[in-house]
Symmetry: none
Subunit: 198 residues, 4 copies
């Protein structure tokens, strides 16, 4: 039975989920290379053998963990977008989104670091990143339209916006250059996005 089996029974589905959660936890804390499958199995409360019935190999666990990670990090931002008053002030709206994004990154900063690294090391992970980026970019596009912002080259603009915010979050959470005024940087970023979407 060398094929990976998609669990059907409820208990099996939960078991697979437990393994993914355990994988995400340990990979975030210790890193992918320093986490071994036996540990993940133990953390998930299953045997080492069973892991290979739900996952093709170790990287397959990582793939699911990355998906889980993106769900976690984008969810609060999506919720925020839904709750925002479409008639509100754009500057305020952007600040809300950015702070929400910084918040999510801070919460998952351990995982973030490792996931980015892995996305540069493995093509499959990289593709999952691009896909997730698409998903959120599309949602932002819909959101912007709902607040009355549209026009040509919106895809490109939202991509630039995405990268601006990502870079900002990354600076904010990890770099901590002592000489950088982060509040100013946030405001300047908002300013640029306003120019971009103008």
């Amino acid at each position: 039975m060398p094929d990976v089996r998609e669990p059907i029974k409820q208990t099996s589905i939960e078991k697979k989920k437990r393994i993914i959660q355990a994988g995400l936890k340990l990979i975030s804390e210790k890193g992918y290379f320093k986490t071994n499958t036996a540990e993940i199995a133990k953390e998930a409360g299953v045997s080492t053998g069973i892991v290979y019935q739900y996952f093709k190999d170790k990287k397959d666990i990582l793939l699911y963990a990355v998906k889980e990670y993106f769900d976690n990090i984008f969810e609060p931002i999506e919720i925020k977008m839904k709750s925002i008053n479409p008639r509100g002030n754009l500057e305020y709206t952007l600040k809300e989104l950015i702070l929400s994004s910084i918040d999510a990154h801070t919460k998952y900063s351990l995982a973030h670091e490792e996931m980015i690294a892995m996305s540069h090391l493995d093509e499959d992970i990289h593709n999952m990143f691009i896909e997730s980026e698409h998903r959120i970019v599309d949602k932002v596009l819909v959101f912007l339209e709902s607040v009355g912002i549209s026009g040509p080259h919106m895809h490109e603009k939202v991509h630039i916006m995405y990268n601006l915010i990502e870079s900002l979050c990354h600076e904010y959470v990890y770099h901590k250059h002592s000489f950088i005024d982060y509040d100013y940087t946030i405001d300047e970023t908002i300013n640029l996005i306003k120019t971009l979407l103008k």
Copy 2:
């Protein structure tokens, strides 16, 4: 002779250099973890033992390779900055710099991926990245001043500019989103930088 020795003789200096080059080549092509020290030695045409006279351990080779990589990638940009007419048009100047940067990234795209990944996995590599970032940011600051651009918060502005260009290069070299118009994205990025430096 467990101590690491700094080569003095010309032949030894060249030998160390050969090992760094071999390391950079193989790490770029196969990745750090899939490259072993024996291969690096062989590629450099030396014995495995001699590697440990010039380098503390395997990671030490990586450290030197990262330095080499940054020298390679920043050098053409620095040269470009020196050759730019200070009285020239800002938009044209920025485009020159950005194209030069995209060019360097394209040339070292393999290395780039691996180095970024490693910078997220290892603190020493990360520090070397931050240091290199400082160095180039400082040079850009000096350059901008020389073309008459200065003012408050220049550090923050140049950091944002650095991230904008980095993201652009990265998009350009790797993502290749089919639906993105890269020429437009370059122009829009230049536009944002102009706003930023206004």
Copy 3:
């Protein structure tokens, strides 16, 4: 699974035992430093990996081998002590014990050399030697009491006795000084012990 596991199943217990036996055999024949773990595994008929489920590291195998060695070497002497007629002649009793001890040393002379050497090179092995020495000294004390020999400073006396017999065995088994009359030396040693226990 980096943790060392204590085998529970009968087959696993036997497997661990086989590794210890293989270790003792090879270490005795070739010496600890010239024996590698792969050889031990092969001799035991197991894979190299399994060794590290039952033993922390290579030295851990040695530790168990030393224990096995002491069990082997002391067992016949203990059996002899139990079978000796408590009302018998002391001189005869001592000769019996000494010959039994020489016999055991002769049988395990290869192991003996290596174990003594290692006890001088490693603290853990040394402690195991001291412990084993205690155990046998205590048993000799009990035995002597059972044949009516007691008094002050018995601990010190038995220690001297232990060293006398150890030196004798060592001389007998290894030195083979051509000009030494070993039968006489045995008799003289018995004589000294009699004086000691007087």
Copy 4:
């Protein structure tokens, strides 16, 4: 020039001596296996290459170091024997010798441990031990004769005596069994030797 050369020039003789001293020092402090030839050369202030003109291999250095060690440890005892009043009290004489021996062992306890270990691991070292034992036993024989002690089986007796004192020194310097009364043990050992030589 693969042959080991016996130095003739005075400077060469001193160089060889320096290497032996450095070897003895480092082997005593760190152990033979944890000392490498480069370190010995450095400690002696010579190049690594020159070592192999004076010594066949690493073990050859050890061999000379063992010799040096025995010279060091036996010298004070021989001096003591020469200074002892031949008409003096035997018990007092023995105590003097034993204390002098314990003293020498204490002073070279680091080296002692390592040398014993090596004597059990290597036949050449072992032979050097036996030879040295012969030398001192012969000298003790002469000494005893000079104080009027002679008779049949003196060789065997002095060997037993040698082992008794060696064991005592070893116990004294290393074991330090908490429950052993060492002063008593010294006295009892003297007593046994008196019985032996009676």
